[in-house]
Symmetry: D2
């Protein structure tokens, strides 16, 4: 059997969750170092994507590197927090030029740190860049500001890669980088070699895309830098444990990556508000491993033949046969 992929997770998976109701948090605060220890406890994670600034902000980098090492982890990426209070009216598209600048500088600062930590990419998730109301925004201006900000960052750090994580909405009612195709259009406009896409399975799912098709489109443009997986009820970014609802489409998604021989990390972006975060990560990895096994027993030749006829019944039967025996084969 082929070697398993590397598994990873966003470090926020192990942090404190809040929402607009449980404003005191779903659990106690968790420092960045504590979160790293929890990620280590999962036992099967190799990499983590770390929010920056750290918590607390004065966390010593050397100590963080040590703690990662002690837990057998590597920082695959940093995610600058350009969506907190200061940036609540926008990061790259904030109406105030000083705050736009502050967002760019915060990312640039995290890029320098990502270089030191040997990350594979800097993740850009401009969650506050978009609009809430009809008539609120000059769409052309937002689009330009978004493109220019990312281009500037890519040009300032030509040795690093920047991965844009698109999302249809939340926290903004509508977001600028909302889909795979829109993000690819923006990247073409940027005309730089080191900007790509992080495809979040759940974002794609509730954004009315077929995640496997979105992956294919991004792969075709050679811009698939990273992926995150989770699950939802298709109306919102529920960030549930991977495979808890959409087992079949999750399987199809990973099948597409494998057919393209994509070599990236299988990464979790789950928000276990009411579950133990270490157990939730273990559950997610468990599902990914089951899907990995299903990929080993999938009759790819027969599937390819069925797809050439666009034969849904045959293709589904072949996929189901592999998926519904994967637990045993393991």
């Amino acid at each position: 059997m082929a070697a398993e992929p590397l598994f990873g997770a966003g470090l926020w998976h192990f942090g404190q969750f809040r929402d607009r109701y449980a404003t005191d948090g779903y659990g106690p605060p968790v420092s960045t170092l504590e979160a790293i220890d929890r990620a280590g406890q999962v036992g099967s994670l190799s990499v983590v994507d770390i929010n920056y600034p750290f918590n607390p902000a004065d966390t010593d980098v050397a100590q963080l590197e040590e703690r990662l090492k002690a837990n057998g982890l590597r920082a695959i990426a940093l995610t600058p927090e350009i969506y907190t209070r200061k940036f609540s009216r926008g990061g790259f598209t904030n109406p105030d030029p000083e705050i736009r600048r502050a967002a760019i500088e915060l990312v640039s600062e995290s890029a320098d740190l990502a270089r030191r930590l040997g990350c594979d990419y800097v993740k850009l998730w401009p969650g506050q860049d978009g609009w809430d109301y009809p008539f609120q925004a000059d769409y052309k201006a937002l689009w330009q500001m978004s493109i220019e900000a990312v281009r500037e960052l890519a040009q300032r750090h030509p040795d690093l890669r920047f991965a844009i994580e698109y999302k249809p909405r939340e926290p903004r009612n509508r977001m600028t980088f909302s889909s795979a195709a829109r993000t690819l259009l923006a990247i073409e406009k940027m005309d730089v070699p080191n900007v790509g896409v992080l495809l979040d399975f759940g974002h794609s799912l509730y954004g009315l895309e077929s995640p496997a098709d979105a992956a294919q489109l991004i792969l075709e443009h050679d811009r698939l830098y990273a992926i995150d997986v989770n699950d939802n009820f298709r109306g919102w970014d529920d960030d549930m444990v991977v495979g808890s609802i959409h087992l079949v489409e999750t399987f199809e998604f990973f099948h597409t990556l494998r057919q393209a021989n994509w070599q990236g990390v299988w990464q979790l972006d789950q928000f276990p508000f009411r579950e133990d975060s270490v157990e939730a990560a273990r559950a997610g990895v468990e599902v990914m491993r089951t899907i990995w096994r299903a990929l080993q027993i999938l009759d790819v030749e027969a599937l390819t033949e069925a797809q050439s006829r666009q034969d849904a019944l045959a293709a589904q039967r072949i996929a189901r046969k592999a998926l519904l025996t994967a637990q045993v084969e393991g």
Copy 2:
């Protein structure tokens, strides 16, 4: 292993499909008798739910009974077509009292025939009863007309059962019997013993219900007369092959029915627009059988214990263990 349930299907599953684009139909016309033969060809169906009037309308009933017998089938229900051109502005709620009357009489006529055919119930699907635009309707009047029409039918045929199939929308933008709870409220108002609910898994799914929870609610009121299964992308009534998307929730749905010791037929309501209808039905039964096997190996005791703690991770693991080995066990 416990005996398998009976499997059935709506006879329209084997008919000609049209929509607003392929107005010439996705295939050639199919008569009621031909559709019965196709249902027989599936090989695993015991009952069918038949649209009335038959196609052609002058189909001989004795011949139909013969044909059912020849195919090892029984008519579990009749579905009067109170949603064709004549009733396009409403059946039970049509603004024209004469058409309201015609709808009631068509159902009554099909009730008499259902009696002769020994059906378990008459299915009521008032698909054209609802509204399309804000301000269009007097909601109170529509609600009253719907309740009174069904009550009259139940009282005229006290020896028969009437099953209301609720649906959030389509063909109307909004429908009167739109959810399990609304339909139960209406049934209480009717105050008759012989009106119940047909729960269509897909309608429940895209109506924002949890189908297993909706089933539980209807069971608690002792009004679950029948079920239909299929699948969709959660935004519309796609009527796909059962389990092609929501394997886990389909499994949960049948688990709930089994825990309640519900004894009804596992019935298909699929619309294989572009697939062979016999093959699509076989695929649906295949999935239902896999789920049936999964029910046999599901550790109900452990699941019940996990549910008592509302432990999502444990409950999902237990369910997954049964589901992802079911294919093999078979």
Copy 3:
């Protein structure tokens, strides 16, 4: 012209907002007394619905009463916070009986205070009561616990009224009191005279109901205790300024209340994350006043006649004529 209705707002409208991204809040913390002052600054509000416990918890009640008076406000309701960290795995349906008890006692405590403050009702919003994953919960048990908890409260405080605010989802992926019909079914089971419904326009809208129809259904059961208005993009509870998207349906909603001669307060439940909360409330009242004026000039007789024919074009024209001149008439 008839006298305007009273306008009100949930006090949280003027508080600090957080979400899972801007965990440091969209603005600085706001105490209950400060929020009351902001509500007063709106200039057109007569009542507020106040979260309990107050912020800070030791806020002096006499001082709060004074502050309300100073701002020309009255407490129409208290909303006990049975959805914070302690209750994050459920209030009335928490798997831990002690926490279920704590939720009931917190509501009971707020009921005593509501009596002292002369509120019209105690609002029940069991936001954490529901489930997130398939297989997680025993739906029957959750339903029973919800019904019993509310019944106990109603019986302990027979002189007070309890209004259940239903919502399809958030913060739970699925909630127990999810729709108008489900909540009415639960209220019937409770069999007490002093439990009713608070209809939130936005919850109804994204729950696939037609808010005017939901209002009609609740009015028919004589259980419409209160309403909240806001707006959204129909996929989530965006809590935008009323009328910013669905002007026509908002107009229809208030028309339905007026035809039923419903005398309650027109209340705001908006979350102006990125706007000035006083200005956002003024905007909401401005829209409600415009709609009020539209109601005065609406040709009800012609509308009723068009609705008797279910004539969508005529009904919409009549409604539009009133709505699209309302600003001027004012």
Copy 4:
């Protein structure tokens, strides 16, 4: 006041509607010539988009031209029906190369006729090109076939323009040209000067786009060949009368076109299943005229200033002031 825009409609607006339930149609059959007469009866339409083949197929072109003239109409476009039974498993992406060829040839044939009729563009709506089930299709192959088919047509008819009408879904569960951004990406790949986009307001709305933003994006690529307007409940392509739900966003959409000085036709794509089609078109034009008037009185300068601050409350107030007085000004 500036001169009004030209108004138009898809000729199908006046035809016979069917769906999967009212298979006998929502009314009697309507020939192409009869539909042209109905379009003429509206009184305010200048152009129509005509389905090809005509109904009946042997309709004489000279006679059709005459009939258009007699009704003061011009054919702005032809829409080849590459979505009927023959193409139900796909037009440009059909697994059978002969049917793919037949689809291309049907479009080419309609292009020749469009040239003779002096149309502005040939509309491409490959409604059957996409997929229904996970695992059914090789997404890369579908994407390539779609691009190559349109490129071939554009190159064979360099003197004509081809407008792709994108749509998220229906009749396929997922469609290849599903959004503005995806379609623009495909057009870039085609690398031809004469392929653009027809933006259908309703498709954009239920596809989670902001129609005004989608228009802006297409305008920026200089590919906005045409628009269609209608309305829906945001979950499906209900094709309701324009403005019956989303007055504010429809106003914003036309404002964006006007700011860009876009000179195209304001075209209706409504499906009045249960209404008189001539009256429904008149209602649609009435709403568009009201919005046109609102554009005349909109304080663009103040709006631009508010948008530069991304001030939602101010922008909405300015828009509302114009919209809610437009009826009177007229």
